[in-house]
């Protein structure tokens, strides 16, 4: 054991001198570094715990597309090398982020799923001038405070977008039979925001409704029978839930088992993460079911997506969800950014800031479809939702018909405040 303990110390001593060379700054991909060096990309994603599923989805897509890119000539002639770190609590993750920046000397960092971590990382990224592309986990509240006009941080689409779209779909499909409304959502910022969004949009469209119960469950709770019973007694017409972790299938199963699913509609903006766990036996048809930026079974999907889904299904006996698309999008965007910057510098390797400057406005082909990066470093992508059906070969429901909306219609414009925008803007159902 003792030498086990000494190991890192020795390592630290070996690093004498090396440390000062580049100090703590993130200006690592300077022209000085030869093109032939591999391009190191740090990946931070959860591997265990409630978000483990999501993390895996992203990492797998990353590995898939890296393999493809490296088969050609990588990015800008440099082969890609992934350095994967686990995303846990913000405190620990920030240490691993620094490890990527300072020790592994990565050229960019991709990933991150939980809002808490993304909020801790963003300032660190700006300060260490490390190009950082977030897959997910960007709720409104913190973002305003923590990421004012970022230089190096690029965010996925707003988390609230899915809720906006499914609220609109709910109105389209359930209008008239939406008097008694209930909500059961995870007891944290995302859950609260999505629920507020839903009720706000109902008001906007003058849907006369009564909120019969609002429930906030601790993320990862595995026994929701009491909540379900309470919902049952509240006799809602529609239940809105943005739960998206393992607790969602548990909720549906327990809801089904007391007959809550019989005469009540469901709205689930973010159920896609759990798609394969939402078995037919307890997930009814006619649920507003959100797949965010990628729906694996989309008949109109691009050949690219079809190819990926096939590979994924063969390799993992499972079907990919939107986190795969997010990861793929970030990598493609980064590639496009590097290439544009390279062209601008006529071939000599660009610095982080040059790449960062190159990315806004870029359009790339992501798994889910065409996607682009806005000037305010927020993504524009397509969102896929629809009503569930059991008419398929799987043991879980799919979408009867795929509704597609672009975030250009349902995402707050650059610089706007989400809630004010939600008030003012006109949506069409």
């Amino acid at each position: 054991m003792s030498d086990n303990l000494n190991l890192p110390r020795r390592k630290a001593l070996k690093k004498i001198g090396a440390g000062m060379a580049l100090g703590a700054s993130g200006l690592l991909s300077a022209p000085a570094f030869a093109q032939n060096k591999p391009l190191k990309i740090g990946v931070i994603a959860p591997r265990g715990g409630i978000a483990g599923t999501a993390g895996e989805g992203g990492i797998r897509a990353m590995e898939w597309s890296v393999a493809k890119l490296n088969a050609m000539n990588g990015i800008g002639g440099r082969k890609i090398e992934l350095v994967i770190q686990e995303e846990t609590s913000p405190k620990e993750t920030i240490d691993r982020y620094r490890k990527l920046v300072l020790q592994d000397r990565v050229d960019a960092v991709h990933g991150v799923i939980s809002s808490g971590v993304s909020l801790a990382l963003a300032p660190a990224a700006e300060q260490s001038q490390m190009l950082t592309l977030l897959w997910d986990g960007t709720t409104q509240d913190g973002v305003k405070e923590m990421m004012p006009n970022p230089k190096y941080v690029f965010r996925a689409i707003d988390n609230e977008v899915d809720a906006v779209m499914s609220s609109l779909l709910a109105i389209r499909h359930f209008k008239g039979s939406m008097v008694r409304v209930a909500g059961i959502n995870a007891d944290y910022t995302y859950g609260r925001n999505t629920w507020t969004t839903f009720t706000a949009i109902l008001k906007k469209f003058g849907i006369a409704h009564e909120v019969v119960t609002e429930q906030w469950v601790k993320v990862g709770t595995m026994d929701l029978t009491s909540n379900v019973a309470t919902l049952k007694t509240a006799k809602p017409d529609v239940i809105f839930t943005s739960m998206l972790f393992a607790d969602l299938p548990v909720f549906m199963r327990q809801a089904h088992n007391v007959g809550l699913t019989e005469n009540c509609k469901f709205v689930m903006p973010a159920a896609g993460w759990q798609q394969t766990a939402m078995k037919k036996e307890f997930t009814p048809e006619g649920v507003v079911f959100g797949h965010s930026t990628m729906y694996f079974d989309n008949p109109a999907a691009s050949p690219l997506q079809k190819e990926f889904v096939r590979w994924y299904a063969d390799k993992y006996k499972d079907y990919p969800h939107w986190e795969s698309d997010r990861a793929y999008f970030c990598l493609q965007l980064y590639k496009a950014g590097v290439e544009r910057a390279l062209a601008a510098k006529s071939g000599s390797w660009p610095s982080s800031i040059e790449i960062a400057m190159a990315m806004p406005g870029l359009k790339v082909e992501s798994l889910g479809g065409p996607a682009s990066m806005r000037a305010d470093h927020i993504a524009n992508q397509l969102i896929f939702q629809g009503l569930t059906t059991h008419k398929n070969a799987y043991d879980f429901p799919t979408l009867a018909s795929v509704e597609t909306m672009s975030t250009e219609q349902i995402q707050k414009p650059a610089g706007a405040d989400f809630w004010q925008w939600l008030e003012s803007t006109k949506f069409k159902v």
Binding site: P46, R47, G48, G49, I50, G52, T53, G55, E56, T213, E214, Q215, W216, V217, K218, G220, M222, D223, L224, T225, S226, N227, V228, A229, T230, K232, T233, A234, K235, A246, P249, V250, R253, Q254, H256, N257, V258, G259, A277, K279, E281, F282
Partner: protein, 292 residues
């Protein structure tokens, strides 16, 4: 609107909690050991239960038999109590705090062992629980299996009561709990008693996990999450008391249900408030012996 449904849900939650804590209480009652890893054992039972039952059903086990498969799985993994007891026995003579430490280390180990075999994704059993359909109690619909779990908890409580109270072995355990030296002098093989009690306690947890999982799912997280609820139960009920476990479980279960109806915001906090109130006004818990 009928509150029965909510009430029953509370009782069901209580039943699950009792199955989780009864083992904890038994072990503490006899050995004065608090096993922080109880949640992990519960999770272990659930994971193994799912895998084994799924396999058994695939092998053509008639669906109505699935509880037997779960029970079998729970009982078999319960045997892990034997090596664990041997491990913990190395620190019987140390201060109580050391048990907390050792069992905490077990949590870390279990978390990754479970992850290694079952992966990061939460596991669930096919919805066989609904095979028995649901029953209607005073107008409230409830899956028959949930009622079965409640009955199982009651049976466990009664069974343990009878075992500890009536059987000679049970009396022997109680004697050991009262005074280790004396009963050793009277020829009780304390070492065997401890081995037995700890394994029994472990088995209660694993069986609990296995039997409850069809109504929900199991994730790596519950290993640490359940510890908190379990502590709430035994602090309220009183360490080492079976009555306490039952009472504590009922209180926590019903408080939660009640909070959901009255004021959902305080669902979690309410439990802690009760816990602290008990600690301040009746430190020994409702049925516990003196705390200090």
């Amino acid at each position: 609107m009928s509150l029965i449904g909510i009430l029953m849900a509370g009782v069901f939650h209580a039943a699950a909690l009792f199955l989780l804590t009864s083992g904890l209480q038994l072990v503490f009652g006899v050995q004065r050991i608090v096993n922080l890893a109880c949640g992990s054992l519960y999770a272990l039972g659930a994971y193994v239960g799912i895998s084994f039952t799924t396999w058994a059903l695939a092998q053509g086990l008639p669906v109505p038999m699935f509880p037997l498969a779960l029970l079998a799985a729970g009982l078999v993994v319960g045997l892990i109590g034997l090596p664990l007891e041997r491990l913990i026995s190395t620190i019987y003579k140390r201060p109580e705090s050391f048990q907390l430490l050792l069992t905490f280390s077990l949590i870390l180990v279990f978390q990754d062992v479970l992850r290694f075999f079952w992966g990061a994704n939460p596991q669930q059993l096919a919805n066989v629980a609904m095979h028995y359909g649901s029953v209607s109690l005073w107008g409230a619909q409830m899956p028959a299996y949930n009622v079965f779990v409640i009955l199982l908890a009651i049976a466990t409580a009664v069974g343990l009561g009878w075992f500890l109270g009536r059987t000679t072995l049970g009396k022997m355990l109680r004697a050991t709990a009262e005074n280790r030296e004396a009963s050793a002098a009277m020829g009780v093989n304390v070492r065997m008693v401890y081995l037995l009690v700890f394994t029994l306690g472990t088995t209660l947890s694993t069986v609990g996990g296995a039997m409850v999982v069809p109504t929900a799912a199991v994730s790596l997280q519950i290993g640490v999450d359940l510890v908190v609820e379990a502590f709430a139960v035994i602090v309220i009920g009183g360490l080492g008391s079976m009555k306490g476990a039952a009472a504590g479980a009922l209180i926590v279960g019903l408080i939660r249900a009640a909070a959901l109806v009255l004021y959902p915001e305080v669902e979690v906090l309410a439990t802690y408030v009760i816990v602290l109130a008990v600690l301040v006004f009746k430190p020994s818990g409702l049925f516990g012996k003196a705390a200090v």
